[in-house]
Symmetry: C2
Subunit: 226 residues, 2 copies
């Protein structure tokens, strides 16, 4: 045991819980798992993990995300700390929630399977363990507040996407319909959303132009409003 100036004060388990958002079939989804350990094994929960002794809390969130998806270096945003005394029935645990946005096609499905993780629609979430529903609500609120000014929502889409997809994504996140022409007008003024020569023929007969997010362009003018 190393000496400490603070040894008279109590210590607590500290965990991170990850709200992993995806977008599929016009719906915003979250990756949930059947809790693999006691207490309350088998209940729906967020993927979480205890912080390690020599690990930043942000690193812990990245590690947990990696364990479940196989993805590294994903942008994660802290939602906040949840620390009521009895929030976890196993013991006192202070948990810090983070959210991430992923293209569902990029996640490693074997890892998902290993962890009994499933994508569930935000519109019909199952009952969740502890305060995990609150964490998701907090994450969604933060996400909604951010998408108008940060380009994070593109993380949810494949590298090439149609404007209809992009609009459906914004509608799913904001939970409201957007006027198609107004949406396209605003998008067309953003230099970092680039038309490509590719045409998507999967979702429509006529074919839709595919667009791409241009990071370099975004870095030149990182202020926008959508």
């Amino acid at each position: 045991m190393a000496p400490s100036y603070y040894s008279q004060y109590p210590k607590f388990h500290v965990a991170v819980d990850c709200i992993i958002f995806g977008f599929e079939q016009g719906e915003l989804k979250v990756l949930l798992q059947k809790r693999p350990f006691e207490p309350r094994r088998g209940e729906w929960s967020l993927m979480g993990g205890f912080v390690k002794r020599d690990e930043d809390i942000d690193q812990a969130a990245q590690r947990v995300l990696f364990q479940l998806t196989g993805l590294h270096d994903i942008y994660m945003k802290q939602v906040g700390a949840f620390g009521t005394v009895s929030r976890d029935s196993g013991d006192r645990v202070i948990s810090i929630a983070y959210f991430a946005l992923l293209d569902i096609d990029r996640v490693n499905k074997d890892l998902n399977h290993e962890h009994s993780a499933h994508w569930e629609s935000m519109n019909q979430l199952p009952l969740l363990l502890f305060d995990h529903k609150e964490m998701i609500d907090g994450a969604l609120k933060k996400l909604r507040a951010m998408i108008g000014h940060c380009p994070i929502s593109f993380q949810l889409l494949p590298p090439l996407f149609t404007l209809t997809q992009l609009q459906a994504l914004y509608e799913a996140i904001l939970g409201e319909k957007i006027d198609k022409r107004n949406f396209r007008k605003r998008v067309s003024e953003l230099p970092f959303i680039e038309k490509t020569d590719n045409i998507d023929k999967v979702t429509s007969k006529r074919g839709a132009v595919l667009y791409r997010f241009n990071t370099a362009m975004f870095n030149q003018e990182p202020n926008f409003k959508l």
Copy 2:
């Protein structure tokens, strides 16, 4: 020692740090203290404290605020958890930052003195311990994002205030000048900012009408934009 499902996992000291904002002489201020214990005793820091075993983290923040100001039931908002491995040189501590807004006249000055606490202008902060500057930056960012939609800023003013004071407060928080006529026009449309019969003769020769925040009115129509 109670049994625990999680006893194999490490535990950490968990603290709260409070960013206490006040408003005086047209400036936004923060209550800072000279750290009263080792390590780094005497350096400028936020007022903080370790979370207790049977205490919610929100309660811990309220307790620390009370110790320093003598005030109960103050609205506090969580800024977030700070948890890099070496943020505190005394030992590993995960700290959760909260901010509060207070009318400087209401705080107990003896308690401030006991804790070597002083109001420092946000425009010329001293060098702060650890990551406390980051915490303040995070709090200010959150505060700025909130004041357009939440009536929290009134906590910084005395019960009766002039429109010039209110405008100066908004300017201090947002860090930019606001047009006087536009500001007053918007305020006059808010039903919960009420004119009183009182006149303030302290800050101007002519005298300025004193206004008051009407909580009941606000609860009826809690949506606004300023």
